[in-house]
C-alpha cells in the first residue's frame, strides 16, 4: 500500500487550515485523514473522496453557524455599549444624532424635489422623439415658442421626417352646462395630439375623439365640476371663448387628470377646426407646435430642413425654426438657464448641508471617543483583540448613523407637506430605488468614516499609558515637542472641519442677505405706475358688451375711483399682431427687434397713475383717436431716434396689405411691463381696451367694496364668475422663481446655522471638559473669569475670522452671477459682507458662551477634584 494513495486531497487540507486554528486543524485534519485512509482500503478511493467532501462540507456549515451566533452575541454587546454611551452623554448624543438627521432629512427632501423636477414630461411613451418647434433670430438674441397656426399642418404635409404634428393654442374660456359655468384654461389641438402624447383616457376613444369638429375632451377634474357624478360622455356643453358667440360642443372623451409633472396643463381640449380665422394665418404667432419624429431621425438634420420655413412664408426675415426636445422644456429656458439652475443650486445646497452634517457627526463622534480611552485600555487588558475594538467602534458609529437616518426619514415625512405648499408641488414620499440606496449608503459611509478614526487610531495604542491617563494620542497632533502647550489645543483636522462649516454659514448668510435685498428692491422699485389697491378682473364677452353700464354702476360707489381696461395683460410685453416691421415718417435708420403693443382705453392713464412725457393721452374729446392715434413710450422714441415725435406718422407693417398709418399724439413715460430681469422695451399703445379690467379702489374697506362690485357685476351679467386678483399680487407672481430661491436659501441658511451651531456647541464643551483641570489651576493662581473666557474663545474667534475671510470671495462670485440675471439690480455693498460675518460671529459666540461662562465661573476646587 502506497502512502500517497491514502493521503487526503490537498484542497481539503487547505480548507481545514482556513477554518480552524492550529490545534483544532491538527486534530480534525488528522482524524479525517485517518478515517479516509481506512475508507480507501475498505471501499475504494472514490467513495472515500465522496465521504471526505461530505464531511468537510458539514464542518464548514458548523463553523459558519457558530460564527453567526457569536457575531450576533458580540453585536448584542456592541449595541448594549452603544446604548449605554448614548445614555451617558444624552445631550451630546442627541445633538450628534439630530445634527446628522437634519442634514439627511434636508438632502432627502431636496433629492425628492430634484427627482420631481427631472421627471417632467418623462411619462410620455415617445418622449425621446417628441419635440416642440421654436424659433430664434439670426443673431440669437430673440427666441420664442409662439408660432403661426398653420405651421403644424404645413410641417406634417411637407416634411417626411414627422409622423405627426399638432398645434397647441392655450385659451382661457368658460364651459357652461345647465347654467353652471366654469372658467378653465384649455387648448386647441390637432386630432393627432392624442397619438403623440400619452395622456390616458378615462372614457372615450383617443382616435375617435375629434372625428367631428364640434367635440370637446375634458379632464376628469373639470368633468366632476361640471357634471358631478353623471356620465358626461355625449352630453352637450356650451363653450364660451370670450371673443365670439357660444358654441355647443359634445363631450367625446374624459382624460385622467393631467399629472403635475407635465409642462402642458389644460382643463379641456378642442379640435383646431373651431379656431377663429384670425389665428389661422401665417401672420400671427400665437400657437405652439409639437412634432413627433420618425424613428432614427437625427433632429439636427431636421433643424436644417425646417429652419427657413418662417422666412419663406412671411416678412419675418430673421427668424429660424428649430426643434426643442420636450424633456428639456420644463428645465431649460430657450435662451439658456431656466429652472435647471435652481435644480443645480439646490442639489449643491443639499450636498453642502449633508457635507456639513456629516463632518459634524464625524467631528463629534471622534471627540466623544477620546473620552473613552480608559475603556479601550481596560478592554485591551482583559484580552480584547484589536479586531474586536475596531468592530465595536465601527458598529457603534454605524448604529448612530442609522438611527439618524430613521429620524431623518421621520423629519422628512413631517416636513414634506409644508415643502409642497411652499413650492406648489405635490411630491409624495415614494420608493425611488436610487434615492433610497444613495441615502442609505451616505448614512452608512458617514458611520464608517466617523467610526474608523477611533476604530483604527485609538485601538492601536498600548493599554498601559491609556490606563495611566498618560494619553499618547495628543502628541500626534503636535510634533514640535511642546507637549504641554499642544495637549489642549484643538487638533488640526477638527479645526479644518470647523472652519469649513463656519465658512459655509457665513456664505449662506451673505447670500440670503443679498437675495432678500434684491427681492425687496424688485418689490419696491417704482414701476412707473401705481400697483396698490388695483383690482384685476378677467372680463368675459358678455361683460365687455355691457362694459359701459357696469362702469357707470361701479363708479357710483364712492370707493371705486376709476376703471380701465386693456386687451393684453399689463405685465406682459407682446407683439402679437405684427412682426418687427414698423416705420414712421422721417425714418432715418433701420430698427432691429420688435415693438410691444397694447390696446387701452381712455382711463388707463388715470387708473394706473401713469405719466405723460410729452403730448397728451387718448381723450374722448378727439373723435379721431380711435382710428388715428398712437402713443409711444420713451424707450420707443429713444430707439427710433426721433427728435420731435408729436404729430409724426407711425406706420404698422409698412408695405403689406395690412399696412396701417396712425399719428403719434403723445409719449408716455416708461413703465415696467415685465419683470425687472428685463430692460424696458419699446411699446406702442392704441385706443381700445379688452379683457383685462383694472379697478382702482380707495384704501380701506376693501371687502365691503369688493362685495359691492361683485353684486353689481352679478346683477348686470348673471353667471359671470367674480375671480379677481390684485395687481401687486399679480406682479409678485413674476418673481415666483426668485421668491422660491429666497425661501429655499433661507431654510438652507437656517439648517446650516443650526447644524454648525450644534457642532460648535458640542465641540466647545468637549474642549472645555478636557481643560477643566487647567482652568482650575489658572483660577487658583489668580486668573480672572474674563481672562479665562477669553482664553477659551480665542481659538474659536481666530478660526471664525479665518473662515469669514475665506467665505467672502465665494459669496461675491455667486451673487454677482445671480444678479447678472436682472437688468435692475442692487449693487454688492460692503456692509452686507460685514454684516454677514458679524452675524455669524455673534451666533457662534452665543453658542459657546454658555459653556465658557460656566467653566470660567466654576469653583476651582470642584474642577481640581474632577475625575
Amino acid at each position: 500500500m502506497k502512502r500517497i494513495d491514502l493521503a487526503a486531497p490537498r484542497l481539503s487540507e487547505w480548507i481545514l487550515r482556513i477554518l480552524f486554528s492550529q490545534d483544532y486543524y491538527l486534530e480534525r485534519s488528522g482524524d479525517l485523514e485517518e478515517t479516509y485512509a481506512e475508507l480507501v482500503e475498505e471501499s475504494g478511493p472514490f467513495r472515500a473522496k465522496v465521504w471526505l467532501w461530505f464531511q468537510i462540507l458539514k464542518l464548514c456549515f458548523g463553523v459558519f453557524r457558530m460564527n453567526i451566533v457569536w457575531r450576533f452575541i458580540m453585536f448584542k454587546n456592541y449595541l448594549k455599549i452603544t446604548l449605554r454611551n448614548i445614555r451617558k452623554n444624552v445631550i451630546y448624543s442627541f445633538m450628534n444624532i439630530s445634527g446628522l438627521s437634519i442634514g439627511l432629512a434636508c438632502s432627502l427632501l431636496i433629492m425628492l424635489w430634484v427627482h420631481h423636477e427631472l421627471s417632467y414630461d418623462r411619462f410620455h411613451e415617445n418622449v425621446d422623439r417628441l419635440y416642440r418647434v421654436v424659433y430664434s433670430s439670426d443673431d440669437g438674441e430673440l427666441y420664442g415658442t409662439y408660432l403661426p397656426g398653420p405651421l403644424a399642418p404645413y410641417l406634417r404635409e411637407h416634411f417626411p421626417d414627422f409622423i405627426s404634428t399638432t398645434g397647441f393654442r392655450p385659451w382661457e374660456a368658460k364651459i357652461v352646462f345647465n347654467n353652471k359655468s366654469f372658467p378653465s384654461i384649455g387648448s386647441y389641438v390637432d386630432p393627432s395630439f392624442f397619438s403623440m402624447f400619452s395622456f390616458p383616457f378615462e372614457k372615450g376613444e383617443p382616435k375617435a375623439a375629434f372625428s367631428h369638429p364640434n367635440s370637446i375632451v375634458i379632464t376628469k377634474n373639470l368633468a366632476v365640476k361640471l357634471f358631478g357624478r353623471d356620465d358626461p360622455m355625449g352630453k352637450t356643453v356650451s363653450y364660451n371663448s370670450g371673443v365670439s358667440e357660444s358654441i355647443p360642443l359634445t363631450v367625446t372623451g374624459i382624460l385622467k387628470d393631467i399629472p403635475q409633472n407635465s409642462h402642458l396643463q389644460f382643463g379641456f381640449l378642442l379640435p383646431f377646426e373651431i379656431l377663429y380665422d384670425w389665428m389661422k394665418t401665417w401672420r400671427n404667432k400665437n400657437v405652439f407646435a409639437y412634432v413627433l419624429l420618425k424613428k432614427n431621425i437625427i433632429p439636427e438634420e431636421v433643424n436644417q430642413k425646417i429652419s427657413g420655413v418662417l422666412k419663406a412664408h412671411k416678412h419675418d426675415n430673421n427668424l429660424n425654426l428649430h426643434l426643442q426636445p420636450i424633456k428639456r422644456i420644463h428645465l431649460h429656458a430657450l435662451g439658456g438657464g431656466g429652472r435647471i439652475t435652481y435644480v443645480y443650486t439646490f442639489s449643491m445646497i443639499a450636498l453642502l448641508v449633508l457635507f456639513i452634517a456629516c463632518l459634524n457627526f464625524m467631528n463629534l463622534s471622534t471627540a466623544q471617543s477620546e473620552q473613552r480611552l480608559k475603556e479601550i485600555g481596560v478592554k485591551k487588558v482583559v484580552g480584547c483583540s484589536r479586531f474586536q475594538l475596531v468592530m465595536q467602534f465601527l458598529c457603534e458609529s454605524m448604529i448612530l448613523s442609522l438611527l439618524s437616518l430613521l429620524l431623518a426619514v421621520f423629519i422628512a415625512v413631517l416636513l414634506l407637506p409644508s415643502l409642497n405648499s411652499m413650492l406648489g408641488t405635490q411630491i409624495v414620499f415614494k420608493w425611488i430605488p436610487n434615492l433610497v440606496l444613495s441615502i442609505i449608503s451616505i448614512a452608512l459611509l458617514t458611520g464608517v468614516v466617523s467610526g474608523s478614526y477611533p476604530a483604527l487610531l485609538l485601538s492601536s495604542f498600548h493599554p498601559v499609558p491609556l490606563l495611566k491617563g498618560n494619553v499618547p494620542f495628543f502628541k500626534l497632533h503636535h510634533r514640535n515637542g511642546k507637549l504641554t502647550e499642544g495637549k489642549n489645543r484643538i487638533p488640526l483636522f477638527r479645526k479644518t472641519l470647523v472652519i469649513i462649516q463656519f465658512a459655509l454659514s457665513v456664505g449662506f448668510i451673505g447670500c440670503i442677505l443679498f437675495i432678500n435685498q434684491q427681492l425687496h428692491h424688485m418689490r419696491n422699485k417704482d414701476l412707473g405706475f401705481d400697483k396698490e389697491n388695483i383690482l384685476v378682473l378677467k372680463a368675459s364677452r358678455e361683460f365687455l358688451e355691457k362694459a359701459s353700464t357696469i362702469k357707470q354702476e361701479l363708479l357710483n360707489h364712492p370707493r371705486v375711483q376709476s376703471i380701465s381696461s386693456s386687451l393684453l395683460r399689463l405685465d406682459t410685453w407682446e407683439s402679437s399682431d405684427f412682426s418687427s416691421a414698423f416705420s414712421w415718417s422721417g425714418k432715418t435708420k433701420e430698427i432691429e427687434g420688435l415693438i410691444g403693443q397694447n390696446w387701452v382705453d381712455h382711463d388707463f392713464l388715470k387708473t394706473l397713475n401713469l405719466e405723460m412725457a410729452k403730448g397728451r393721452f387718448f381723450s374722448r374729446e378727439f373723435s379721431s383717436d380711435p382710428t388715428d392715434a398712437v402713443i409711444l413710450n420713451e424707450t420707443a422714441v429713444r430707439i427710433m431716434d426721433i427728435k420731435e415725435p408729436l404729430g409724426k406718422e407711425f406706420i404698422f407693417v409698412p408695405g403689406s396689405p395690412n399696412e396701417r398709418k396712425k399719428t403719434i399724439i403723445g409719449v408716455i413715460k416708461d413703465y415696467h411691463t415685465e419683470s425687472l430681469r428685463q430692460e424696458i422695451r419699446p411699446m406702442v399703445l392704441e385706443l381700445g381696451g379688452g379683457r383685462n379690467v383694472y379697478i382702482k379702489l380707495q384704501k380701506g374697506h376693501i371687502t365691503e367694496t369688493l362685495s359691492y362690485i361683485e353684486s353689481k357685476i352679478k346683477e348686470i351679467v348673471p353667471g359671470e364668475p367674480f375671480d379677481y386678483t390684485f395687481l401687486d399680487e399679480e406682479l409678485d407672481n413674476l418673481y415666483k422663481n426668485e421668491q422660491l430661491l429666497g425661501h429655499l436659501v433661507r431654510y438652507g441658511t437656517l439648517l446650516v446655522l443650526l447644524i454648525s451651531s450644534v457642532g460648535m456647541f458640542s465641540l466647545a464643551s468637549f474642549s472645555i471638559v478636557r481643560r477643566t483641570k487647567e482652568i482650575g489651576i489658572r483660577k487658583l493662581l489668580g486668573a480672572s473669569g474674563f481672562r479665562i473666557m477669553f482664553m477659551l474663545t480665542k481659538d474659536l474667534i481666530n478660526m471664525l475670522l479665518f473662515s469669514i475671510v475665506a467665505a467672502w470671495p465665494i459669496v461675491c462670485f455667486l451673487m454677482k452671477k445671480w444678479l447678472d440675471n436682472f437688468a435692475y439690480r442692487i449693487s454688492l455693498s460692503v456692509w452686507i459682507f460685514l454684516l454677514s460675518g458679524l452675524m455669524a460671529l455673534v451666533i457662534a459666540l452665543l453658542t459657546v458662551s454658555y459653556q465658557s461662562i460656566k467653566a470660567a465661573a466654576a469653583n476651582p476646587v470642584d474642577s481640581l477634584r474632577y475625575e
Binding site: R3, A7, A8, D23, L26, E27, R28, S29, G30, D31, L32, E33, E34, T35, A37, F54, Q55, K58, L59, F61, G62, M66
Partner: protein, 110 residues
C-alpha cells in the same frame, strides 16, 4: 451547572468514559457506530465536543503525531470530575423522570 447537557453531549461523554484514555476523534466515532449503529459525521462529533470542553466537562490532551494521520497529532479527551458529576446528575434525573412510566410499547399504548 443549572442546565443539563444535550443528548449528543451525553452520548459523547459516556463514550469517552467507555474508551478509557483512548478517546480521540476517530475512536469516538467508531465506538458510537458500534453502540448506536449510526455513522455520525465528524462535524456532529466536534461540535458537542467543543461545547463539552468549554463547559469544562472534558479536558483536551495533545498526543503524539502518527504517520497514519499524515504526521498530525492526536487529541485525546478525558472526562473531568465536573463532567462525572454532570453525568450523575443527568442519570438521576433520568431515573426520576422515567420512574412511574411502566410501558411504552406501541401495541398496548393506544
Amino acid at each position: 451547572m443549572p442546565k443539563f447537557m444535550t443528548r449528543n453531549e451525553e452520548i459523547i461523554l459516556l463514550t469517552i468514559l467507555k474508551l478509557k484514555g483512548n478517546a480521540y476523534g476517530v475512536n469516538i466515532r467508531k465506538q458510537i457506530y458500534k453502540d448506536i449503529g449510526d455513522k455520525w459525521s465528524f462535524a456532529s462529533i466536534y461540535q458537542p465536543l467543543d461545547n463539552l470542553v468549554r463547559k469544562q466537562f472534558v479536558r483536551r490532551i495533545k498526543g503524539d503525531p502518527t504517520a497514519r494521520r499524515g504526521g498530525k497529532s492526536k487529541f485525546y479527551y478525558e472526562v473531568t470530575p465536573d463532567g462525572k458529576r454532570g453525568l450523575q446528575k443527568l442519570k438521576k434525573a433520568h431515573e426520576q423522570v422515567w420512574s412511574g412510566i411502566l410501558d411504552i410499547s406501541l401495541e398496548n399504548g393506544k
